[in-house]
Amino acid sequence: MSTSPGKIRMILALALCATAGVILLAKGAGESAAAPAPDDAKLPDVARPSASQPVTGLVGGTHLDKTPPRETKGLDLVKMGWTYNCMECHKLFPAKWHYDRPMNEHKDLKLDHGNNRFCLNCHHPTNRNAFVDYDGAEIAQANVVELCAKCHGTTYRDWKAGVHGRQNGFWDADKGEKTKLKCIQCHDPHSPKFKAMAPLAPLRYPPRAAHPPGADHSEPAGHTDEP
């Protein structure tokens, strides 16, 4: 253990001397000869101040996966600058409380949200870009939480208090902001039950422990500790 680094260092030193010699000779022979690029792998490590070192390791909390559990395509499209104007189509189709024919669009939607059997339970009958309040007033898309609050009052209260749904950032308001996920970033409004997901890797029975499950239990191993 202690000898091998010494040997390597000796070899390195010799190699360096040799390289230096070659350079000197080359310089002496012809001025034009450029110094050969030193072989990086063979050079000893030179400590650099940490500031000038490339950033390694996990930077700034990127190792923590904070993506919302549900992808909200619509919202993302809006964020990306799309108009996402429902009325472009819906102005052609007047609102109907009951649909008596199969839908041509939105076929992927399976409504599984309690008593809400109809689109217009939530969507505004005349302005499809908004949701509808009790009194028929519009609720802007950005305020979707208020729509949910119509029925889920206690949950809304908890959410406002910061104990329903995940928050990220700072618990201490003096130190920084906290962000809150909105209802639809976790729940699909058409099928709001939180979706099952695959669990991450489980604990294993410690391999150093005796008798892993499934192993042969018959003999209590070669333990010879008796006095």
């Binding site: 202690s2 390694t56 909390g61 904070k66 201490d172 997901m197 991450l200 890797a201 489980p202 294993r204």
Partner: protein
């Protein structure tokens, strides 16, 4: 077997004892001594494999964290940064974050919401610089997620090995357990060298440079919250979280006990702990118990809260609650 089949010490041999040592005896004795020393050296040979600089004189002379002067601590932390860089190839920033006055941390976990996805347990591994390449290393995570049968709160019927396609499973509920940062903490009480103690903000910490590794605290803990470094952590460069603190997630040496510190290197900066940041269901609630408007106090005031193993009298700062 503790017996002694020695032969008679005859009067003749006793007489030898009174005489001064002669040349022959001396040579014989020297030979025996040589054999003995050689045997001793051979027995201790594995020690040559110890990494140089693993235990320095400075380490041995270092005082308890709470007795260190700030400038000494600074030096020690710089030395630790250098050591980490040498051993792991990343130079971390090790800080010494003090408790914030007027803050006592509390944590609540919503058993109605938790689905047992183990994201918290794995984020914990990453945040706290624990080895995680090996499947077996996961158990160093400070969080154990228990799968419980509905209708039972008997921990002994729980499972930590569950691995279905998806969670949650029918008929089960999930209970993550980690350090409860008890007000009457049995672990700090039993430590013979006070290498672990409660900070003013309620976090139970370990001075990894002071712990002697007797593991009495592990025996004392009713929540299985402490982990022992049976080996040196194995971490690659890109696995290391460089935001480290002396009392929490700096890379531990082997042979010491470690535990959840509510991520004090984050929480004393005002941030949420890592396990909360990744929880997909928002089952985790963290905050300042001394602030009446905090989220944690909202839970304590409005929800049906219970603590695990109340009968042990530990008065945890970690609460479980139900939502529905």
């Amino acid at each position: 077997m503790n017996h002694d089949p020695q032969d008679t010490v005859s009067p003749r041999t006793i007489e030898q004892v009174y005489k001064p040592i002669d040349r022959r005896t001396f040579l014989k004795g020297s030979a025996v001594a040589m054999v003995g020393v050689a045997g001793l050296m051979a027995a201790l040979k594995p020690l040559l494999a110890l990494e140089s600089g693993e235990t320095t004189l400075d380490d041995l002379l270092q005082k308890h964290y709470r007795e260190l002067k700030p400038e000494d601590l600074k030096k020690i932390m710089a030395a630790l940064e250098a050591k980490t860089e040498k051993q792991y190839g990343v130079r971390p920033t090790i800080r010494d974050l003090k408790p914030i006055p007027g803050v006592e941390f509390g944590y609540a976990l919503n058993l109605t919401r938790c689905i047992g996805c183990r994201k918290c347990a794995h984020a914990c591994l990453k945040e706290n610089n624990q080895s995680r390449d090996d499947a077996q290393d996961i158990e160093m995570s400070y969080i154990r997620v228990l799968e419980m049968n509905k209708g039972a709160i008997n921990l002994e019927t729980s499972s930590v090995y569950y691995d279905p396609e998806t969670v949650p499973q029918k008929g089960k509920y999930y209970m993550p357990a980690q350090c409860h940062q008890c007000r009457q903490s049995p672990c700090t009480k039993v430590c013979p060298v006070q290498a672990t103690w409660q900070e003013p903000d309620g976090v139970v910490v370990v001075d990894y440079n002071w712990c002697i590794g007797c593991r009495y605290c592990m025996a004392a803990c009713p929540y299985d919250a402490r982990r022992f470094n049976y080996k040196k952590p194995s971490l690659t460069k890109d696995q290391i979280n460089p935001n480290q603190s002396y009392l929490s997630n700096r890379i531990r040496p082997k042979g010491v006990v470690e535990k959840c510190t509510f991520c004090l290197h984050r929480t004393r900066d005002g941030k949420y702990p890592a396990c909360l940041e990744v929880c997909p269901t928002g089952a985790r609630v963290f905050g300042n118990l001394l602030d009446p408007d905090s989220e944690i106090n909202y839970i304590l005031n409005n929800k049906r809260v219970y603590v695990l193993k109340e009968e042990v009298g530990t008065l945890p700062r970690f609460y479980y609650f139900f939502d529905k």
